[in-house]
Symmetry: C2
Subunit: 419 residues, 2 copies
């Protein structure tokens, strides 16, 4: 169990130059995306680098929902720059791209698939030393500043996969709530749903002592090790914050208190799922976003169709937790209660429907699209969605209940409409 280095506070971004100086950095790669490159978070980082006399180059070509192609472009940039440290300013897409750039630049003779999760890649353990990476999250969902995971679309197979290794975890996360004030409403909602599902999935994941195989060499054990007494603490705490602050954070752009708490909840849930793992909502989300046809999410300024990650994750959550509840009904009821359900008269066997109803109400209150149908999918897409879920066994095997292809079909079908 690894806890992460984070520093929290309004304005901590201004310290990034000093941190890099303390790390001995002289030539820094600043990664961000085109939208953010004109916004205050990136400006604050550049000002701090200039003030501390640190040379840097900006890479602002990060793709929102990155692909192997966009990862490779960033890696190429990093290789040419011969940087001795990295700063990622943005959401999960930027932090994940930066992790990949750092990894492959530090391991120049590796093939791209070497470190990509099996079965798509070879899933090799990382044994090369990486450069320091400071992550400055500007969204309140991914928790990528605390995890050793980098997710991308593998275009060739039209499927999401990723790299998972403790070695790519950022050296430091600077969690500055001021950055949340620039977030449009849907971005707050969708990234909040990611936090919600990180918490729910890691808390209901297969316990660490029931996971198999359990490699005898600790180095070969996966980053996602199943629910455990430490990740449980983070998951429940993050969920309580979501229950208390998420609606306020979505609805009020100026509610710094609520958005600050969601910014911390994102990191807390990240520490939880970064050690325990996620399961079906995330495993099924990858084809939902990977196979997107024409849906373009409101509030996202991108030039390609997009089902945002948090939305793709949360749309299946009522169906998923109805399915999984029979394994750990108490935990499902407990989370429903945290999210506002009255469980005093609930029976154990109703844990799934109780949590599902609670989630549906939560999503409805936050104006979430009515299921997979509303983001462009029909029943005819289900076989492809199932096929895209099968390679995600790294996470789906952490579900408390095994799933057949028929089970997955039924879960997608049950997620076509929510209300």
């Amino acid at each position: 169990m690894a806890v992460s280095n984070i520093r929290y506070g309004a304005g901590v971004t201004k310290e990034v130059g000093m941190d890099l100086q303390n790390m001995g950095a002289k030539n820094v790669c600043l990664m961000t995306d085109k939208n953010l490159s004109q916004l205050p978070p990136v400006q604050a980082v550049m000002d701090s680098l200039v003030k501390n006399g640190i040379r840097f180059q900006v890479y602002d070509n990060v793709r929102v929902e990155p692909t192997d192609t966009s990862f490779k472009e960033a890696i190429e940039f990093a290789q040419k720059g011969a940087f001795d440290a990295y700063v990622a300013v943005g959401g999960g897409s930027t932090m994940d791209t930066c992790k990949a750039a750092n990894l492959y630049t530090s391991s120049p003779h590796s093939d791209f698939l070497d470190y990509v999760n099996a079965p798509i890649g070879k899933g090799k353990p990382v044994s090369v030393p990486l450069k320091p990476l400071i992550a400055v999250p500007t969204t309140t969902g991914t928790g990528s500043e605390t995890t050793g995971v980098a997710i991308f679309d593998y275009e060739h197979l039209k499927v999401k996969t990723g790299i998972a290794s403790r070695a790519i975890k950022p050296t430091l996360g600077l969690i500055d709530p001021l950055h949340t004030l620039h977030m449009p409403e849907r971005l707050v909602a969708n990234s909040g749903f990611d936090v919600l599902c990180h918490a729910l999935e890691s808390y209901t994941a297969l316990p660490y002592h029931m996971r198999s195989p359990c490699p005898s060499n600790p180095m070969m054990r996966p980053a996602y090790q199943g629910s455990n007494p430490i990740s449980d603490l983070w998951a429940v705490h993050a969920l309580r914050i979501v229950a208390k602050y998420m609606k306020r954070a979505v609805r009020n752009p100026d509610d710094l208190e609520a958005r600050s708490h969601m910014h911390l909840a994102s990191a807390f849930a990240g520490i939880g799922f970064g050690n325990a793992g996620v399961h079906l909502c995330h495993g099924m989300s990858y084809p939902i976003s990977g196979l997107v046809k024409t849906y373009k999410a409101k509030d996202y300024n991108v030039d390609h169709p997009l089902v945002p990650h948090g939305l793709s994750v949360v749309l299946t959550s009522p169906a998923v937790f109805t399915f999984t509840a029979q394994m750990f009904p108490e935990r499902h009821l407990e989370t429903a209660e945290i999210l506002g359900a009255d469980i005093r008269t609930a029976r154990t066997q109703d844990a799934g429907p109780v949590l599902a109803d609670t989630l549906r109400k939560f999503l409805f209150d936050l104006d979430v699209d009515d299921g997979l149908a509303a983001v462009g999918y029909t029943k005819a897409d289900i076989p492809a969605l199932v096929k895209g879920t099968l390679p995600q066994e790294r996470v789906t095997k952490l579900a408390p209940r095994p799933q057949s292809e028929e089970d997955l079909s039924a879960l997608f079908e049950a997620s076509m409409k929510l209300y």
Copy 2:
């Protein structure tokens, strides 16, 4: 808020050889104390090192409640050995000694006082790289496996002080509950009191945003940074475990469940106080153990008078929290409730006495000596006890309420008898 890597489970000690091999270690220093060197935890480590073909030397000369002299002996041993990694098997004394040996061997040109906390030492920041250190705690109190702190008696001034730097934090803590089964009753009780006070003090410490000064360079900020939203989570969680399991763990040597939970609580509280800090119970405990006259604690097999650390900490706790409660009465009431008090009718202004009474009952139930008088102190010793507390400002300034010398006198006097 910083990293602590821990791995938990019955038998994880057996993995230490593989961990060291993964770290590239070839010549390891195994530190322990004379009592433990004949016991199963050390044997398990040696077996694992042998099995993995790792060369090692044993240093079993660690002093329980170490001194600058005993630290220096260990440092000298380490310097001669030119080790590339360390394993500490024992309680806080062993882990702290090993941290110091690793630090000064990695910084051979430093004077011993360079890294010692001001005002006794120079309190220089650590900028040299250290060797990997794996900590295997065998007591359930110190949490030293998760902290960047090493405490010792500075004999010349007859006062406890220490070294505090994130740089000396162990690379990995292996938390193996099997080791708790060898602990005699008083060792479980006293180390549990250390956990109790770590949790209570860090939860009631001055909040991080009220601490001053706040050095502009993050590297210069103290390891003990005041209570914060992350340390709070660990403190409260550890306290709940203490409330639930400590009495069982003390009374039943075979209660592996209770002792396992206390072993984890020790690490959890360590992560909490290792970031937030402790305050008056710890600050006042250093002269209480440092000025010991003839008291010899039951169940401790040592050849010198000894007030065990956890006992020296807890004896002042009723007086301390009566004194501090006016600042954060809600937190004091909340902790009293966790420890079993009925606070439904308690008034805010009674928070101190309510928590103090709860603590007195808790201590009485666990057969704790009746105050400072019972460990050999009289009123005539109070000026010396106060004088020994004054240099502990690194921690005492984290108390939620400032203290004059008169306040400290009154706190010692109120701690002479508990019941």
